[in-house]
């Protein structure tokens, strides 16, 4: 495993319901990422289909592995780089159960997937109406290090990030479809999740407008000490290639020994009190 890896933060606007157009965009940008020396190309939450789908989601969800993932596998194989993207995942066992899923594909094929655990269902969000939540935090050992996957609203729940950090994630990838009104929250929380876990955090958000909902972009790579190492434009599509160095984790973890200082007994209390809320 190499210490330094290059990430391409592919901050696209998805064409709503047009998978083919989105796949072409993903293919084009993955090739650009490869040409610029990137090891990993990251696309936003639901980048395959767009985010505001309502009942049309039932026509768009696919199994994983499935047709789209096979195409992304061919793309990863051809370019030799890793790809993370978001899509609605249809259960293998039912025909109407869907998860909001982040997919990690490498040059040798599908590495793993993460089903979003926290589904926002408030304000303009209606995810619990359509999605079954995930139950498993996801960390995958890859040639690019241990990568943990999270999605958007998960960022409000430090326990997900803590869990995947404790499972070994050194790079946490958070794909997102966050509307502009919430920008301030995400700017704070993404930095906090990186800092409190002393891990790299790559946040890749949609841009564009869907049904009047504007996504704010602002994708970023955050260092284990909470510094923004690279940042995309607000509101517009952008493509950012940036580098991270795992060697910096040692310095960060000694300077901010938050993991060393964890108090496991508090987690029992956390469970107890949250059940009593």
């Amino acid at each position: 495993m190499k210490d330094k890896i290059k990430l391409a933060l592919c901050q696209i606007s998805s064409n709503r319901e047009k998978k083919e157009a989105n796949l072409q965009k993903i293919e084009e940008l993955t090739h650009s990422a490869k040409n610029l020396g990137a090891d990993l190309a990251i696309f936003p939450e639901m980048s395959l289909t767009g985010y505001v789908l309502h009942d049309q989601i039932y026509e768009l969800a696919e199994q994983i592995p499935g047709k789209t993932v096979q195409r992304i596998e061919r793309l990863a194989e051809k370019t030799g780089i890793h790809i993370i993207f978001g899509m609605p995942e249809l259960s293998e066992k039912t025909r109407g159960t869907i998860c909001n899923t982040s997919v990690l594909v490498g040059p040798k094929g599908l590495i793993g997937k993460y089903r979003k655990m926290y589904l926002p269902t408030h304000s303009v969000f209606e995810e619990k109406r359509y999605f079954r939540p995930g139950y498993e935090p996801a960390v995958f050992q890859t040639e690019l290090g241990n990568i943990g996957l999270t999605i958007c609203y998960d960022v409000f729940f430090p326990e997900v990030f803590r869990l995947i950090r404790l499972k070994g994630a050194q790079l946490i990838v958070c794909i997102s479809a966050s509307p502009a009104i919430r920008r301030g929250y995400f700017e704070i929380l993404t930095a906090a999740r990186a800092l409190e876990n002393t891990a790299y955090l790559a946040y890749v958000n949609l841009s564009g407008v869907e049904d009047g909902l504007q996504f704010w972009g602002g994708s970023r790579l955050i260092s284990p000490t909470g510094d923004i190492l690279a940042k995309g434009k607000y509101d517009e599509e952008d493509f950012i290639v940036c580098e991270m160095d795992y060697a910096d984790l040692r310095s960060a973890e000694t300077f901010i020994p938050a993991l060393r200082d964890l108090r496991p007994e508090l987690f029992d209390k956390l469970k107890q009190y949250s059940e009593q809320l």
Binding site: L53, D55, G212
Partner: protein, 280 residues
Amino acid sequence: MKLTPAELDMDFSTAEKRICRFIKEYVENAGAQGIVLGLSGGVDSALAAGLSSKAIGGKNVLALMLPEKETVKQKDIEDAQTVADQFNLQPQICDMTKVLEGFYESIAVFDPTDRLCKGNIKARTRMIFLYYYANKQNRIVCGTSDKSETMMGYFTKWGDAASDISPIIDLYKTQVRNLAIHLGIPQELALKPSTPALWPNQLAESELEIKYETLDLILFGLERFMEPKEIAIQLGLDSIVVDRVKRRWLSNEHKRRMPLPPKLGFRTVGNDFRLPRHTY
């Protein structure tokens, strides 16, 4: 939360940019040739027109001035013309008087003393003019409703509220005024007292019995789930005033929704038939 006018401050450059992008993308995705809107000489339509012009270019924005003999004011026509000149809009005057008189004569139960029912005919007739031009010239009808009036139900159902997009509907009136000033609309016009012009000398604040500066803070508090009692204390108002605003806001929800259907089918239009808005 402290309910002060500062709560209604916003980054007007960002708001302008976002609204312009919203308008531009909608018009493009719909494959429309442009926008048509009613330009009254008031601040709401001036702002919607200015933003539309910045989004898609004034030459693509048809601004209909729709006077009728009972409510027409030369000052309003002049103000509308000022806005049309400022944003290079395509202005056109359509006098509605004859059409309205046709309605008055044709409705068997027409009551000229009932100014609200009569005034609503005017608002709905404006809508018919706008949609005629929209259909004929492949334009999008741009609504000019603001958040204060919409929350209060202070509009005509299927009249001024009827449109394809509502670019300023998430801005309270005081925010509309400030964004208008930010856009360079003359201050005198931006701060001019609002009127729906349904009958002569009608004034919004007199009818609503409250100043927009106060109303907007009450509505902002309600939007943020504040208790009416707390809003009243913070604003130094009698709680009856806040309760009245809240009642009016809630009782007018029927004006802001599609017609209510009885639930009979598997999925029901306007109820649980949830589909993306396809202009694509």
